[in-house]
Amino acid sequence: MIEINNLVFSWPKHPAPTLDIAELTVSQGERIFLHGPSGSGKSTLLGLLAGINAIQAGDIKILDTQMRQLSAAKRDQFRADHIGTIFQNFNLLPFLDPIENVMLGCQYSKMRKNKLTQSLQKSAIDLLENLGIDHTLQAKSVSELSIGQQQRVAAARAFIGQPELIIADEPTSALDADSREAFIETLFNQAEKYQATILFVSHDHSLAQLFDRKVSLNEINGAAQ
């Protein structure tokens, strides 16, 4: 699913590399807990995986695609087609309703739209129902939803159109302990249904036990410290 080899990345005007990963492999359907405190190069790694930033040295291979060979536009398209993203908080566009926010997940990807078995709107509604956002919540404006509910809507947007990889960047850090586990559980259920790989980034060790594998970015990143 993901193969990283000898990846070295340095930001312009920074003499030392931010990232230096010799090897990291993630297989299909695996649920990875990526532990990364701030400063460990977490954002940089996610930027490279999602194709926002160009690879300077080494390789990232996702779904048998060499990211290095893709142009910036192709990387954007690759992200639209294959990667769903959940941020820490404020994931949603405030001027769209929950359903429209979910539909946004297919906005830039024909491939994901084609994977839908029913209309885009119907798929969005079904997905929201699966993630525990019923129709009364769906009718609300996103600012009226609780943070936990907002994160579920964000998860629905990440999952719609069945992207192979879900990148969750500290999606639970704004939630209380109970909702955290509930959220992760929902995430797993949905991932299982779609056979999606989950790359879950957090600095909260207590969640690590829920995952198949725990990877510490500090350990694999030779450039850290």
Binding site: L46, A50, I52, F87, F95, Y108
Partner: protein, 464 residues
């Protein structure tokens, strides 16, 4: 959901600032369109004031002064043309027609023009249009008067009514020639020129109402006062009452006279015996000339300007009109400049708003990037927002413009004689709107570029 609706929804989310910007643009668009429309109409109604006349001749003064006094009834001609000079020049070879003009008197603030029947056959305005009668006919004798359409409308005059022409210019002239009531025999169709605001009388009437005693200085109002002013006004009012006894239209000041019995005089043609229209005038203010061939114009003009009998001036109205408009040119240019600057300021306001809110929207951009939007999409999103705001501003501004025209139309017509047409946008005005749209789009490129670079540097990480 396409880009435009995304841009629209995003804008609507910031509606207070966006709407304010939109209104600013709308008002500036309205201002620009209105000023341009008034400018165009003023220019064309100005140029249409007189046509077909080859020369205007008057006592020696400035070209523009002669044009203003003879055609626009603005200002006073201080000197006059002797009648024998007029008779002499009229006989010159190539002269097709002449129209004598005697100005200086007024009726309730409207200029009184003494002339003869040639005025109704030879005077042209606009695109060589003849004067036409709404009601009635030209005057046949010295006791008849023909009104411009505005005069009749404003004073609510009808055919057959008798009016009194006062001496001198101005609304409340003290001295009235109330011994010379005149009958309205014709009302002209609207022309959009000063003719509409003119009372036309035969030359002989001017001569008669001044009497020989006044002829030496017919335009010196002060000397003519020989009775107390309120008595003069009173006697005039009596006359007005008298008129209304024969006439049904209600004038609120004379309500008790207005109802019932006398309806017959409204627009009924007036029969009369033809009589002398010219009399024995000693002088006239100016005269218009037309030639058999334009070739005569320059030659006769030179002759007139070198005329030995008295100092005269002959001008070609087209040339002098252009000269006069040229003087106003700087004013209209400044007006145009101001309204363009207002539009630019409003667009800069939009730029400021878009740039100021952009920082708060970096999260929005990052979310769009995370679902696969390219920097190019972000760029288009921001640009289309500016386009939407400008477009709506232009549409609203155009609507406001039509409302403004509708409101200003009667005032401009009454005050300045500029007839504004409530016509659709001219191609020039559409071009102006196109220019504003283009400028708005260009303005939109700046925040769009910045957003483009934000989206490149921020990527998916949310900075704010």
């Amino acid at each position: 959901m396409n880009l435009a609706s995304l841009a629209f929804k995003s804008s609507w989310n910031r509606k207070s600032s966006v709407l304010l910007t939109l209104f600013t643009i709308a008002i500036s668009v309205m201002l620009l369109l209105s000023i341009e429309r008034v400018r165009q109409e003023a220019k064309s109604s100005f140029a249409n004031t007189i046509s077909g006349t080859d020369l205007i001749v008057g006592a020696r003064t400035g070209d523009i002064q002669l044009l203003l006094s003879s055609v626009f009834r603005i200002g006073h001609a201080n000197n006059a043309v002797k009648w024998q000079s007029y008779e002499y020049i009229k006989q010159q070879r190539g002269v097709a027609w002449t129209i004598p003009l005697s100005l200086g008197d007024s009726h309730k603030g409207h200029a009184v023009l003494g002339t003869d029947s040639s005025y109704f056959t030879h005077f042209r305005y606009g695109k060589k249009q003849m004067l036409a009668f709404e009601h009635g006919r030209a005057f046949h004798n010295g006791r008849e008067v023909v009104l411009g359409s505005d005069v009749a409308k404003k004073l609510n005059y009808h055919l057959g009514e008798q009016i009194v022409i006062s001496h001198g210019m101005g609304n409340t002239s003290f001295h009235h020639h109330d011994d010379n009531p005149m009958t309205i025999v014709g009302i002209l169709k609207p022309t959009g020129t000063p003719v509409d605001r003119t009372v036309h009388v035969p030359l002989i009437a001017i001569d008669e109402m001044h009497g020989s005693a006044h002829n030496a200085s017919p335009r010196m109002i002060g000397k003519a006062i020989n009775k107390p002013s309120n008595e003069a006004v009173h006697s005039h009012d009596e006359h007005k009452h008298h008129d209304h006894d024969h006439h049904s239209h209600d004038d609120h000041n004379h309500g008790e006279h207005s109802h019932g019995e006398h309806q017959h005089k409204t627009h009924q043609p007036v029969e009369s015996e033809p009589g002398d229209l010219i009399g024995k005038p000693k002088q006239i203010t100016a005269f218009l000339m037309g030639f058999d061939s334009p070739l005569y114009t320059l030659q006769v003009r030179r002759n007139i300007n070198q005329y030995q009998g008295e100092p005269l001036l002959a001008i070609m109205p087209g040339v002098t009109l252009r000269e006069l408009w040229g003087m106003l040119d700087i004013v209209e240019k400044i007006l145009l400049l101001f309204s363009v600057v207002v539009v630019i300021i409003s667009l800069l306001g939009m730029l400021t708003t878009l740039l100021a809110t952009l920082n708060q929207r970096r999260r929005e951009l990052a979310i769009l990037r995370s679902v696969g939007a390219r920097p190019w999409h972000i760029f288009s999103l921001l640009t289309s927002e500016a386009v939407i705001i400008t477009l709506l501003g232009c549409l609203l501004g155009t609507a406001l413009f039509f409302v403004a025209i509708l409101l200003a139309q009667p005032v401009l017509q009454a005050q300045f004689g500029i007839s504004l047409s409530l016509s659709m946008l001219s191609s020039y005005e559409v071009t102006l709107l196109g220019g504003i749209m283009l400028a708005g789009t260009v303005m939109g490129i700046f925040p769009a570029l910045r957003a483009y670079y934000y989206s490149l540097s921020d990527g998916m990480s949310i900075k704010v």
